[in-house]
Symmetry: D2
Subunit: 403 residues, 4 copies
C-alpha cells in the first residue's frame, strides 16, 4: 500500500499545474467577456481554441484516453489527479485539454467498439478537437435509470436503420459544431432485458433530426459547452454500417462508457470542491464583519475543517476506484464506482453551499463561480441515474453477502 | 389557545383559493409563453396586468397593508395564511395582488413615516399598482448585515442632500417602470452606532443614478420581477424634503421595515414548500421505475412524510410570530422573527431539493418550477442577513437568560 | 387563532412551576443518593412518595386524565404545557403527580373501557398511587409495529381465558409494587386484520406469569421506574371477567390508548429539550476554554440558536395536535399525532446531543442528567413503532390526496 | 500509488481473521455469562485470560508496538487493518491481543521515553499482560483540551515529587490489577505554554492515591475494562526517578502518545462500523414486517448503501494517515490525524444509529452489542479533545495557506 503518486503522474501534475497558472486561470475573465459579447450563445468561445493550441504544445492533450494508440495511454489512477486539477476550472480546463464530456466517453466508445471506417470518420476529428459530439440516451417520458424503459426505436429496413424517438439532456448538442450523435435505442425489444438495446451513429445533418431546445440547469443554459439539448428523431434513416458493434449490444456499450464517465465526473468534482474551499478561505480571510474577519468566526472554521475532511475522504475513494478499474476492471470496481457516484457529488454540493454562504449574496451571483459550480454538482446527483437508484443497487449487493 | 383561523380569514382564504384556481394557475403557462416572446427581459409581462385587474375586482388588493386607510386593514395573523397561498405561485400571485416585495415594504415605510406630500407623490401610485419601487440597502463592498458598515453617504448641502455610494441586490430596479428608490446611507457617521443612518427618496431619473446591471441568482435573472440591480449613485442631488423621517432614523426605519418583510417572505415560503410537496406527490404517483410507481419507494415516502412534518411546524411558528407581532409588537416578536428567518428558508430548500430529486433531471430544468423556487429559497438564507448572523444574535439573547 | 394559554392553564402552570422549584428540583440530588443506597434496584425511591404527598396537597394530581370523574378534567390542550413542565425532571415530576407512563395509559383504558368491578379493583388504587401497572404489548420475536404480527394467544376455556406468549419492554413491570398487567393478545386469529386482538387484565401474582429480566436502554436499567421487563406467560388462567371490553376489540383499545400516550411522551420531550437547552446555556456561560467562555464560540451559539428554533416549532405542533384531539378527536388528529411522533424525539435527541457536547466528557456521564435523557429520547424513535413505520403511513395518506 | 495490503499484512490479516472466528466471536456469549456471574464488576473476566493465551500461541501479541525490540515491529500501515479487525469485537479482541487502550499508549510512552529501570519495572509486565495501567490526564474542573488549563501540580521536594490534583476518565483504573498510573501535571507553571507540564509514574498503592469512583458512559460502567475512574491525588509522594523524561516535557510526550492513540481508536471504529453494517444486513434479511423482509424496504437499503460509502471513505483516510505517520512522521500527519479524529467517530456513530434502528427496540438493549458500541463511538467525539477543538485547529491551518 502506497499513497504517493508515481513519477509520471507527478511530472504531469507539475506540468498541468503550471498550465493552469499560466493559461487557464487568467483565461477565466476572458471567457466571461467573450460570453457577454457572443452572438451565438451555444458556440464555443474563441478563448477555448487558444487554450487548446497551448495545451497541445504543452503535451497535455487527450490525457483521458487509456488507449495509447489514440490517447495518452495513462491508467485511470494516473489520469485521476490530472482530471481533478482540470475540475478547478471546469468551464475551461477540460475542453482546453480535449478531455471534456461527452466527447471523452464518445471517443472511448469509438476507440473500443468502432470499425476502422467509423474511427476514421468520427474518432479522428474528435481526437483533433475539430468537431464535437453528443450522447443521446436519456428520454423525457421514462425513468431512464432503468434501461429497459428506453422507448426510442432503431429498426432495420433494408440497408438502413430507421430511428424514432425523443431524447433530452444530450449535452453539447446545441453547439453548431457538434457533428455526430451516438444514439441509444431498442433494436430488439423482445430480447432479454439487457440485450434489447443498440447504439448507432447519427450525423447531425441527417434528415429527421431536430435539435429542439436547450434544457436549463437552475437557470444556466451551459451555452458555451453546447447546452443540453432535447433532440427529436423522426424517421431518421442511416446506413446499417452506422451501428456501433451489433444489435443488442447497446447496454453493454453503455456500461463500458458509464464507468469511466462517472469517475471522470467525480475526479473533476474533487477539483471543484478544492476550488470552493480555496475561495471560502480567501473570502474568510478578507471579509470583515462585526469587527473581525469572518475567518475568526467559529462557524466558518467548522465549514472549512469539515470541507477538508470530506474532500480528503472523497479523493481517496475516487483514487482507489481508479486503481480497482485498472487492476480488476470496471466490473470488479462496480461497488466503488457506485459509491463515488453517490458520495462525491453530495460532498461537492455541501462544500460549495458553504463557500456560497461565506460569500454572502455575491455567492449566488455571476460574480463568483460558486453558484454555477453548485448547479453542476447538484445535477450530478441525477445525471447517469439518480443517487437513489445507485444506493438501492449497492445495498442489494451488500445484503446478498449475508443471505 | 385556538388553532382555527377566524371568520374573516376563512372568507378571504376561500376567495383567494378560488382566484388561484380560476386565474393564477392557468396564467402560469401564459407567463412562460410571454416571457419567451418578451423584447424587454426586465419588464412585467402583460399577464400580470390582467391578473391585477381581476384581483381588484375580487377585492384581493393590497392585503398586506395593516393600515386600514391605505390597505386592507388585516392583522399579520390574518394576512399570513393569504400570503402563504400566494407563495404557491410566487412569480404571479403576489404581484397580481399588489403584495410583492419590495413594493410592500416600501409602501409600509411611506405609510408609516412618509409626509403627506411623499404619500401623495409615491405611495398613491404604488398602492394603485401604477409604478414600482426599489429598496437600496445592501452594498457590494461590505458585510451589510452589520449596518454600521454601510458606506453610502447622504450629505446635506444647502436645500439638498447629495448621495454617493454603490448598492446591489436592489430588487425590481431593472424594471423600467420602477420609478422610485428608497436609499439607505449615512448622514451622521460620527453618531452612535444606530443613529448614523437615514433613508431618502431618490427618483430613478435623477441625474447621477446609474442602474448598472442585474445580479443573477443561480443563473436566473428574475427579469419579470425587475431583477436585482447594482445601482451606482454619483453626486446624486435631491431636495431635503425627500428625507424619510429625520437624519439618523434610518436604522429604526429599516428595523420597522424588515420585521414584516421577513415574515412575508416566510409566509410565501410555506406556500412554496406546499406546492413542492404537491408536485412531488403527483410525480411520485405518476412516474414508474423498476416496475412500480416511485410513490411505492420507501425513500420517496420518507421525503414526503418528512416534508409534511417540517412544513406543519414551520407554518405554526410563522403564525405564532404573526400573532406576537400583532399583540406585543415587532420588538416583542424579535426572537420569533429571527427564528423563522433561520428555520423557514432551510425547510423550504429541503422540501424543494427532495421534490427536484423526485422529478429526475426534469426537476433542475425549466420544465418544472422547482429549480427556480429552490434558488429563491436558497437565496433567502442570505437576504436580509445570513442565517449565521441571526443565529448568533438569537443565541446571545438566549445565553443572557442564564447569566 | 390565539396562541395564549387560557386562564386555567396559566393558573396551573404557575402552581406547577412553583412546585418544581420548591420540591422537585431539590429532590433530584436526594433521588441520586437514595438510588445509591437502594437495596432493591427496581423499587421506587422514598423521595417519590414524599413528592406525591406534596403534589396531592398542591392539587397537582392525576392531571393527565380528561375524565373529570376520576381525574382533573383537563383538555389535552390544557394538559400539554403542564406535561411539558414535568418533562424537565422526567425521573421525578411525572410520578410525583401520578402522571407517569405506563400507568396513565392504563388508567385511561380502565376509565374508558373498564367494567365497574374492574374500575373498583384496579383503577381506584392506581388513581390513588397505591399500586403500579404494566402494559404488555410488544413481543421480542415479531415486528410489533404491525399489530397483525402479535403471537400471544388469549384462548377461551370455560369461564377462563388462558394466556400464552412472551412480551418485552413491559415498562414498570420489574417494580414489585406493579400489581396488574394489561396484556394484548389474539383471541380471534382468523378474524379480519384489526379484529383479532383483545386486552385482558392479568394480576402479577397469577400462576404462570414469569417476570424474567429487565431490558437495558443503552446501559440504563431505568430501575426506579420499574425497568422494562421481559415477561413470559405460560398457561396463565384468569376469569373471563378480566377481559377489557370484548374479544376482537384489542386493536381499537390500543389505538385509543396510543394517541394520548404518544402525545404525552412528546409533551415531556419538549420539557426535556428545554432543560437541555438551559443546561447548555449555563455551561456555556461558565466554562472557559482557550481564554473565553465557550458561550463566545460561534459553534456553540449555533447549537443554542438552532435548539431554540427547533424547540419552538416542535412545541407548537404538539399543542396544535392536542387542540385537534380535543376538537376533532384522536382519529381526526391522526396525521398530526404521527407527525409529532416522528419529529419531536428527533428534535429532543438533537438538542440533547449538543448539550452533551457542550459539557465535554461530563456530558456522557452520571454527573449530568443529559446522557440519561438522551437515551430516553433516542428510544422514543422506536417505542410505539419505529419512525419509519409512521413516516410510511403518513406518506401514504399524503400521496392519496393527489391520486 | 497502490491500494493493496503488503504480503506481511495479508498474512497477519488471515491469521487474525481465523483467530476471530475460532476464538473471539464464540467468546462473546461466554463474556456475557461471566459478567452476569462476576463478583467484582471492575475485574477482567476469565475469558480474557483464555483468549490471551491463545493469541500468544498464534503469534498475535503486542502487534500495536512499532518498536521491534518490545513489540511486533509493524508499521502503522501494517497495523491499521489488524486493529480494524479487533474493532469488530472491541470488548474482547483488543485485550486478547494485548492491544487495548490505555495500555498501548502507556507502553509506547515507556518504550520511547522510559529509563531502563522504568522499562524493567513497568513496561515488561505490561508487555506480558501481567498488569494493567492508566493514563491520568483529563481533569473535571477545566477544559482539558486546552493543555495549559491543567491544574494538577507535580512539585519537587528533595528527592521526591509531590502530586496534588484530581483526574477523571482515567480508563482502566477501577481494575484492581491496574498497577501503575502515568499522571500529567505541571512542574513549571511559569514556563512557556507547552513547557509547563510533565508526566510521572505513580504506583496505584502509593499513599494519597484515592480511586474514587467509576464514571458512566450512557449508563455503561465499562466495568470489565476497568471502567473510567475519578482519581484524587493528595500529597502523593514518589521518587524523582519516577519522572518520565524531564520536567516540562509532558506536553511533548502527550503529543507523541495521542497521535497513535487517536489512530488506533479510529482503526477500531472502522471495524465497529463494519460489524454494525453486517448486523444490520443480517437483521434486514431476517426480519419481516408488513409482509416482506425489511431488507426490501427502500429506507433500509439507503442506510446500508450510505453506510458502505461512508465506511470505505473513512477507512482509506485512516490508512493514508497511517502511511503518512510512517513516512513523514506524526507531525507531518497532523492534519490527517485531526481529520480522522473528526470524521471517523461521527461515521461510526451514524452507522451504529442506523443499525440500532433496524433492530427495533432490541437495538438499544443488552441483547445486541450495538447500543454499547454506539456509546463508545459517541464518547470518542469527546475523548482526546472534542471535535470542535480539532475542527478549529485544522481550519486555522487551512486558512493560513491563503493568507
Amino acid at each position: 500500500m502506497d499513497f504517493a503518486y508515481d513519477a509520471k503522474t507527478e511530472e504531469l501534475r507539475g506540468r498541468l499545474l503550471s498550465f493552469m497558472d499560466e493559461f487557464v486561470y487568467p483565461a477565466e475573465a476572458v471567457l466571461e467577456k467573450q460570453l457577454e459579447e457572443a452572438t451565438d450563445e451555444w458556440a464555443r468561445t474563441p478563448i477555448v481554441a487558444d487554450l487548446q493550441a497551448e495545451a497541445r504544445k504543452a503535451g497535455l492533450w487527450n490525457l483521458f484516453l487509456p488507449d495509447a494508440e489514440h490517447g495518452a495511454g495513462l491508467t485511470n489512477l494516473q489520469y485521476a489527479p490530472l482530471a481533478e486539477i482540470t475540475g478547478r476550472s471546469p468551464h475551461l480546463a477540460p475542453e482546453a485539454l480535449n478531455c471534456a464530456a461527452p466527447d471523452t466517453g464518445n471517443m472511448e466508445v469509438l476507440a473500443m467498439f468502432g470499425t476502422e471506417e467509423q474511427k476514421k470518420q468520427w474518432l479522428r476529428p474528435l481526437l483533433d478537437g475539430e468537431i464535437r459530439s453528443a450522447f443521446c440516451m436519456t428520454e423525457p417520458d421514462v425513468a431512464s435509470s432503468d434501461a429497459t424503459n428506453i422507448a426510442t426505436r432503431i429498426e432495420r429496413d433494408g440497408d438502413s436503420y430507421v430511428i424514432n424517438g425523443t431524447k433530452w439532456w444530450s449535452s453539447g448538442a446545441m453547439n453548431p459544431n457538434c457533428a455526430i450523435f451516438i444514439v441509444m435505442g431498442k433494436t430488439n425489444p423482445e430480447a432479454e432485458r439487457h440485450q434489447q438495446q443498440a447504439m448507432i451513429l447519427v450525423p447531425r445533418d441527417t434528415p429527421g433530426v431536430e435539435v429542439k431546445r436547450g434544457m436549463h440547469v437552475f437557470g444556466y443554459t451551459d451555452g458555451p459547452h453546447g447546452g443540453h439539448a432535447e433532440v427529436v428523431f423522426t424517421d431518421v434513416r442511416v446506413p446499417v454500417d452506422n451501428l456501433v458493434a451489433g444489435e443488442g449490444e447497446g447496454f453493454a456499450i453503455a456500461q463500458a462508457r458509464l464507468g469511466p464517465g462517472r469517475i471522470h465526473h467525480c475526479m473533476r468534482l474533487i477539483g471543484m470542491a478544492e476550488r470552493a474551499l480555496e475561495l471560502m478561505c480567501r473570502r474568510a480571510n478578507e471579509r470583515v464583519a462585526f469587527g473581525k474577519p469572518i475567518a475568526a468566526q467559529g462557524v466558518v472554521q467548522e465549514w472549512i475543517a469539515e470541507s477538508r475532511v470530506r474532500i480528503e475522504q472523497a479523493r481517496l475513494l475516487v483514487l482507489k476506484t481508479a486503481w480497482l478499474m485498472d487492476t480488476v476492471g470496471n466490473k470488479g470496481a462496480h461497488t466503488e464506482i457506485q459509491a463515488i457516484k453517490i458520495g462525491v457529488p453530495l460532498m461537492a454540493e455541501w462544500v460549495l453551499d458553504k463557500a456560497i454562504q461565506a460569500h454572502g449574496a455575491g455567492g449566488v451571483s455571476q460574480d463568483f463561480p460558486l453558484a454555477n459550480l453548485w448547479a453542476s454538482a447538484r445535477t450530478l446527483r441525477l445525471a447517469d441515474g439518480p443517487d437513489e437508484v445507485h444506493r438501492m443497487s449497492l445495498a442489494k449487493r451488500e445484503l446478498k453477502k449475508y443471505r
